[in-house]
């Protein structure tokens, strides 16, 4: 049933990672990514891998959920491995016709692939432990300082909120229109790609028309409720940093410092 869809990948929970302020998690994820790309040594990689696995344990999420997030990037990782194996110059280890695998290539390929895996794992931890609305709030707060240079922080957040609000509504509507068109003989399931794409027209046209009408009515309703942009607006849920957030940010900073050290030493 379309009504039961979940938005984003959020898995509700009450772990430390769930309770962290969304801003902390976003900043943390950014620091993590920078650190990941600074690291060079094998020890460094081992350390950040253990750190990442510790984070997964902290999130108290079932492993199946976490691993599911990695699946879509499997081919990209494979591609990275192969490209690096064959295209990195260095001492030849193995040769197949014109293709040469170098020892440098193996090293680089494994590191790059590993990096990608960790990258996806950590960012999916972010989306698995924060609701879309919390992420939106977090992004709005974090973008606020950039308002002066013209970043429409509030507007972006409002757009994301409204999009999230209307996804289920529009899905329901799509379902309804599809059934109505099928009742009149429309065929969405058979034929080649071109035929199927053409079959979507009687679905998309009414959907777009209705979406625009909804947008118009929503705008009127928002105006009637005194909406006038982000200026002077207060919030029902203010974000607050707690002790655990400062702890988490401290840990992130240590991670960054260690990666810089690792980079310089090796």
């Amino acid at each position: 049933m379309l009504k039961d869809i979940t938005l984003g990948q959020y898995v509700p929970g009450n772990s430390l990672l769930h309770r962290l302020d969304p801003r902390t998690k976003i900043i943390g994820a950014m620091i993590y990514i920078i650190s990941l790309f600074l690291l060079k040594s094998l020890v460094g990689y081992a350390a950040i891998t253990i750190f990442t696995l510790a984070l997964v344990l902290l999130s108290a999420l079932p492993w199946s959920y976490v691993l599911r997030g990695i699946r879509p990037v499997f081919y990209i990782v494979l591609f990275t491995l192969v490209l690096n194996f064959f295209l990195t110059p260095g001492e030849t280890v193995w040769q197949l016709g014109p293709l040469k695998v170098t020892d440098e290539g193996i090293r680089l390929g494994i590191f790059m692939g590993w990096r990608l895996l960790l990258l996806v794992l950590s960012t999916s931890l972010l989306t698995l432990t924060s609701s879309p609305i919390a992420l939106t709030d977090g992004i709005e707060y974090l973008l606020r300082p950039f308002k002066k240079i013209g970043v429409p922080a509030h507007e972006l957040a409002m757009m994301m909120t409204i999009a999230l609000r209307f996804i289920p509504t529009l899905l329901e509507e799509t379902d309804k229109i599809m059934k109505a068109q099928m009742a009149r003989g429309a065929d969405f399931e058979t034929g080649n790609i071109v035929k199927r794409a053409r079959g979507m027209i009687p679905l998309l046209v009414p959907l777009f028309v209705s979406a625009f009408r909804r947008a118009d009515e929503l705008a009127t309703a928002m105006e009637a409720r005194c909406y006038r942009g982000g200026e002077g607006r207060t919030r029902l849920k203010e974000l607050h940093f707690a002790g655990r957030d400062f702890m988490a940010l401290a840990v992130s900073t240590i991670l960054l410092v260690l990666s810089v050290v690792d980079r310089i030493v090796s």
Binding site: R165, R225, K237
Partner: protein, 281 residues
């Protein structure tokens, strides 16, 4: 006491110049605080246009609209007017902004810049009045139509308005949803003293009001207490409007020399009148 809404010679034309469609022509109407006014009329009679004039979503082409003495043309008063006269629309889906009920109710006060602690109190109070407090964390698309409209009403109440304008809030609801919404509206009027302007084409709803305004072709054709307005059965019929079933029955009986008073609106009243007749026989 100053009128809540005061309309003087209000006309409204859609489109440019003289060719535009006339939606309202020369409306004079005064609504006092605490009144429950039902506005009825067939499609295109101008009733929705009238509603949108009451909180400055539309401005009159000529004439003036005063909301508690504030002219809707004066842009300085715009937000004060919209806070005083809150509005609920027809489609419950297209007036909810947030992904959770309580966030949606908070939308109005957030726009007004109310401090966070007070928003909390207002949201709780508003949701309790419409009896939706237990659904505060629910996603709007999982609610029934009647529940969505009650949340929309709560969203307006959280702005602490003095008047509630309802633009066909029950048109898209099933009978039970309609009852839920009407019970809430009647309660708000009687218990909280909120002025209600209820646009509808359901006569059973108009009967609940303390005053009925009938519109046709952009003009007010009848205006009075429900008993009085609904006694004009023929006139209402000629305007393409229904009258409550019992009212029509009473009318027909009177035509056949059963002496019933005009303007019987409820089955209870009808029963009482007929019993009285019977005892006289």
């Amino acid at each position: 006491m100053a009128a809540m809404f005061q309309l003087d010679h209000v006309s409204h034309h859609y489109g440019e110049g003289d060719e535009g469609k006339v939606a309202l022509s020369d409306i004079n109407l005064s609504i006092s605080p605490g009144e429950f006014v039902a506005v009825i009329g067939h499609n295109g009679s101008g009733k929705s246009t009238l509603a949108k004039h009451l909180n400055a979503l539309l401005l009159p082409t000529t004439g003036t609209v005063l909301v508690k003495g504030m002219d809707t043309r004066d842009s300085d008063h715009l937000w004060a007017i919209r806070q005083t006269a809150g509005m609920v629309f027809q489609n419950p889906d297209n007036q909810m902004v947030a992904t959770a009920v309580e966030e949606d109710v908070a939308f109005g006060p957030e726009n007004l810049g109310v401090p966070t602690a007070e928003i909390r109190q207002r949201v709780e109070a508003a949701l309790k009045i419409v009896d939706m407090w237990e659904f505060r964390a629910a996603a709007p698309h999982l609610l029934s139509g009647g529940q969505k409209q009650r949340v929309a009403i709560a969203g307006v109440l959280a702005m602490q308005p003095e008047a509630l304008i309802l633009d066909e809030p029950t048109a898209m609801l099933d009978p039970s949803g309609r009852r839920e919404v009407m019970d809430t509206v009647v309660r708000l009027n009687r218990e909280e003293g909120i002025t209600v302007v209820h646009i509808t084409h359901f006569m059973e709803e108009a009967v609940l009001a303390s005053r009925v305004v009938v519109m046709n072709d952009g003009q007010v054709v009848l205006d009075g207490i429900p008993e009085e307005v609904f006694s004009h059965v023929r006139k209402l019929r000629s305007l393409g409007l229904d009258v409550p079933q019992v009212t029509e029955l009473a009318q027909r009986l009177s035509e056949h020399e059963v002496s019933l008073p005009s303007g019987i609106l409820t089955v209870e009243r009808m029963v009482a009148e007929i019993c009285q007749l019977k005892s006289k026989m």
